[in-house]
Symmetry: C2
Subunit: 248 residues, 2 copies
């Protein structure tokens, strides 16, 4: 999916024209095709866990739920499939894929590398405006950790990484990163307070390196951050044979 299709894309992007009342609502640009709306809604639902892994996404049912015809639903499903958020099998339909350890490992490997170059680019470009924003997000994240508001942390984490991607000012990279972040969301979302604390300390270190313009350090810390969180997730998933009898 193109980045411009996301609902949260800036509405004030266009160049200002002359002789145009400033309060004119540029409605023509706003309304998105239904398949995009459906895709966004579905994505949100899947990321929020409202569709569990393994759950089937039946076109007819979704069409009815959303109050649209099957066509936009199909296109939405295809779009999410190409993002890796749903898995469609020919003539069997779509379902939410489970994140297997092997797949998670692959995703994390790639994401770590990309997060690394993102941080490197951010350090290189060194945009003061975005750095200010990053600082603000960091502050809010730290506060959320301190006050144990784990509910917000997922969103704040996404915000931080998004801003970092923007700082890298590489559209291709930012798009890829967002897709990878979505797909690894289960691995990065549910965490202990300890883990959340670690995450935001990592973020702070990354930002510090970016601010100081240390490209090498930024890249290393960002990549390491992803590897760390990923390893924790994988470790938590792995059966601990010493402590617990294996079942099944």
């Amino acid at each position: 999916m193109r980045a411009a299709d996301r609902e949260d894309s800036s509405p004030s992007a266009g160049a200002p024209r002359q002789h145009r009342p400033s309060d004119a609502v540029r409605v023509g640009e706003r309304h998105l095709p239904l398949h995009v709306v459906v895709a966004n809604e579905l994505r949100r639902a899947i990321l929020a866990g409202r569709y569990k892994p393994g759950e089937r996404l039946v076109e007819d049912r979704l069409a009815e739920d959303f109050g649209v015809s099957r066509n936009p639903v199909r296109e939405a499903i295809r779009a999410l499939a190409s993002e890796g958020l749903v898995e469609v099998t020919a003539r069997q339909g779509a379902m939410v894929p489970a994140l297997t350890p092997g797949h998670a490992r692959e995703l994390i490997e790639v994401r770590a590398a990309l997060e690394g170059i993102t941080a490197r680019l951010a350090a290189q470009r060194h945009d003061p405006q975005i750095i200010t924003r990053l600082k603000a997000i960091l502050k809010r994240g730290m506060a959320a950790v301190a006050s144990r508001q784990t509910a917000q942390l997922s969103a704040l984490n996404a915000e931080f990484h998004d801003a970092l991607a923007e700082a890298g000012s590489n559209r291709v990279l930012a798009d890829l990163m967002r897709s990878l972040r979505d797909r690894t969301a289960p691995a990065f979302a549910p965490m202990t307070t300890r883990a959340a604390d670690k995450t935001w300390k990592d973020h702070a270190a990354i930002l510090k390196a970016v601010i100081s313009g240390n490209e090498e350090q930024s890249a290393k810390l960002a990549a390491q951050h992803i590897h760390n969180v990923g390893s924790d997730y994988l470790a938590a998933k792995r059966p601990r044979v010493k402590r617990q009898r294996r079942k099944q």
Copy 2:
């Protein structure tokens, strides 16, 4: 698009079943959905340059050309759009995007990083079977360069990078790489004999590093290779102000 949707994916991937005559045609597994076929055909056409940048992809016309209805065409277009091979604007339809220097720079930046970790992984995993294949491809590439058969070089280049991706044994990474390779194809395809020579010398060096298991060196060489070819492309595109009056 999922890797499994490509026509060239191994047809013998599924586990063999018992009690099945060996000559039975498993038509159920074989026939791909039309939208996938159309997408593959379209991709091939675009990469082969049969659709020029800026050319519009009108659904009705394509549907007629392929002898299918509009639905599969739309789905194919959407799939290619999410690969970045076509660009669709709401209510305006799809067209083949031109590769702008800025965009090329972004793609190359990302691709270099990913090619780097691919090579690193290949060096790490060190699969002798794939290394044998890489050697064979390298040999054919060198021969093609020596005998000035530039026509084959594009395909051989794709083959080399594909095999390298397979050696990395990371499906997510391989999929991303293929998509990026497709999108940067214009930058990597038309080259002088000199450039082709350089490319395959790079390949040889990368393979040597991979064989020796030197991860750091492999990653560095692979990333550098992409940057080199990319820079050449960008330099060729940039107007040479000293030699030539700027137009427009």
